[in-house]
Amino acid sequence: MNALRELPAWIRWPLYAFIGIFLLTVVQSISDTERLTQVATSRQMLRFAVPIFLAGLGGLFSERSGVVNIGLEGMLILGMWFGAWGSIEFGPWWGLLIGMIGGGIGGLLHAIATVTFGVDHIISGVAINILAPAFTRFLSDEVWASPTTSPQTQSVGTWDVPFLAGGTVFGWESPDWLLSISQLEVWFLSDTAQLARGLLRGTHWVSYLVIVLVPATSWLIWRTRFGLRLRIAGENPQAGAAQGINILRYKYVAVIMSGVLAGLGGAFISTELSGLFQGGNSAGRGFIGLAALIFGNWRPGGVLIGALLFGYVFGLDLRDLDGTSSHAMLLVNTIALAGVAVWALKGKRRSDAVMAVILGSLSFIWWLSTETVPSWWSDVLPFVLVLLVLVFFSQRLRAPEKLGAPYFKGSS
């Protein structure tokens, strides 16, 4: 485990991905399903993961500056509405931009309440989560004469990567290498090709942007003066203030930024995924983003992994009509929990190991004794996964030191 951690990031990350795909392939070869490694599965994973990731990344900015942001869900909903409105009125790119502004307004409200007026962060967030859906219902009713749905929106569209996934270059159709590999039907190799192809073909422009955001945010947070000061605001604001840093301004910027990112996630849902604004389409992805943030230990790469993990389970559930894929996931759970047990034993955390073994055994017995799982189980699986992840990882994570603490100018 430690040897793994010392590898450079560009080797380590693909390695994690390969381990994950290998696990899925092994499970799939002894199950009745082929969905675990299909092109459509990884495509659905990405579609679910992008808003989760954007909300989580928004939470990262806010929480690194010390402000808990449970209002992400509300900001995402604002982004959904404003994105749809902007897209209908001015065009697709404007939709994304206006969605970001809409979410940013939610962030500004949260900043005013928490930073300027010292309202408890969770209370302010809850208030925003109650206000945002009410506000969008009102606006929808006034603008589109229906409180819950909008007309068709315009989408920025998708792009196929040339050569790898058969995209066109200046009108010339390039070869589709990943398709050729997956048609070879070589064990593991073709599965990997299929999953990769789902990420590179028919992928929304915004999704490509998201990949860029991970290194960009890491650089911003850890390599720039802005990032250092942002982290000081969350770790030790008094020390920062003593050095002449305007802590309140950094908190404002961070919280507004978190609203902007959540708003982009919302606009992505309404304009790119659903093709219209529909109340309730956020499906709690702002909250899941918060869970991805915690899972990712307040780091951009970790948030992405969390978002992809939750996105995978959501995406699989959507396509799993006969319950066989979720049944196969029970075995994946078992193996993952076994891994957790071994890892916990190495760290001499006996109670963690015992718990992992018990849960893993239950999962295994369930897998052995049934052929399919009921549909309600696949519906709750993403949320159960979030809880499980928090159960095993909560104590190993480190939140910013002064997260949630009120800070006033001159306070000590």
Partner: protein, 374 residues
């Protein structure tokens, strides 16, 4: 007297601000706010509407008390929504399986709902104290688990076999009359004999009142309440004082969920089963009511009435078309946000004044001492 005026300034200010902002919103979209507000008030002056408001305020109040129990010790139980729906369906099913005299049947159902709600919410408490899982996230996830999966699964399983389904028979099997809390129309008749057919004041209003009183006594007058608040304010100090903070957390989550379990019993008493489409959203609205009423049992009752009035007003706006009915939700949202900000401001002013008063007292004190010495 001054402190009372000070305490009232925040909610009144928030309400005035809400009226101004919502009026502006209505004017911006070409509606007449004065006509809309007078429709709402005129509607609310009718007896039927008033009963309707009380019926709506009752579950809101229970939901607010549920949230407030957690808030009093800095625990955020955001999962009231899932807890009450889950407790509702289980209690309705249990109630439909047995046939008992009312004196046993009704308590059985109420206690079932409280135990189920409490246990479901207790999961979040246990996860917090044993695994360090933040209760905000865990209650939200438990919410989704209940609403997205568990309830739908139980609904399908407990739907009795029927020849032809209609909207009014979908849901769990009906509970016998003996299990349904009688209405409280007698209470209305004390004030006016005019209460007509078809208007029923929910009997749960008495249960809500008892819960409110118990909440007040338990948290403000009894040792348990002090322990609870102490472990919320400062767990380390509480532990040093002999209060086990972990047990307090689990206990508070359990009590919060138990009260949440009662919310659905209002609808059960009215229709006698868990319907295909139960009233949702009471959990989140209850959090808003608790925040608006600052966890105070009396102020929460006022807030519940205000929210219920706004909810019920949606109907009249829809029929008179003076304004979109969605304006009432906006008003609820704005009054909440404005109030929490106003409370934040008054709290800071108070702290500052107290600090100033203490500093002055100290200065005078030291002057005196100097005087004595010299």
């Amino acid at each position: 007297m001054r402190s009372l005026a000070f305490n009232l300034a925040a909610p009144v200010g928030a309400f005035v601000l809400t009226l101004i902002i919502s009026s502006l919103a209505l004017v911006a979209f070409g509606s007449n706010p004065i006509a809309a507000f007078s429709d709402m008030l005129g509607h609310a002056s009718e007896l039927e509407t008033q009963v309707e408001i009380l019926n709506r305020a009752t579950p809101l109040y229970l939901s607010a008390v549920a949230a407030a129990i957690g808030f009093r010790m800095n625990l955020f139980n955001i999962g009231v929504e899932g807890q009450y729906l889950f407790a509702f369906i289980v209690a309705a099913q249990v109630g439909s399986l047995v046939s008992l005299p009312s004196i046993l049947h009704i308590p059985l159902i109420l206690i079932t709902s409280m135990v189920v709600g409490g246990l479901f919410s207790g999961i979040a408490g246990l996860l917090k104290v044993t695994r360090g899982v933040n209760e905000v996230i865990s209650t939200i996830m438990l919410n989704s688990i209940a609403v997205a999966g568990l309830i739908a699964a139980l609904q399908a399983r407990w739907q009795p076999e029927q020849e032809n389904f209609t909207a009014t028979t979908l849901g769990t099997a009906p509970v016998d009359e003996s299990g349904l809390l009688p209405d409280a129309n007698g209470l209305v008749e004390l004030f006016t004999p005019e209460i007509g057919q078809g208007v029923e004041l929910t009997g749960m209003i008495f249960v809500a009142a008892i819960v409110g009183i118990l909440y007040y006594v338990l948290l403000n007058k009894m040792r348990f309440g002090f322990d609870l608040r102490a472990s919320g304010l400062n767990p380390f100090a509480a532990k040093a004082g002999g209060v086990p903070p972990k047990q307090m957390i689990v206990m508070a989550m359990f009590l919060s969920g138990a009260v949440a379990g009662l919310i659905g019993m209002v609808e059960l008493a009215e229709i006698g089963r868990f319907p295909a489409d139960p009233i949702q959203g009471l959990g989140f609205a209850g959090i808003a009511v608790a925040l608006l009423g600052r966890n105070n049992p009396g102020a929460m009752a006022f807030s519940a009435l205000l929210f219920a009035f706004l909810d019920v007003s949606a109907g009249i706006l829809q029929s008179t078309q003076t304004a979109t009915k969605e304006i009432v939700n906006i008003m609820q949202g704005i009054v909440l946000l404005a109030a929490v900000i106003a409370y934040g401001v008054t709290k800071r002013i108070q702290t500052r004044e107290e600090a100033k008063a203490t500093a002055e007292a100290l200065r005078e004190d030291s002057n005196d001492t100097v005087g004595v010495l010299s």
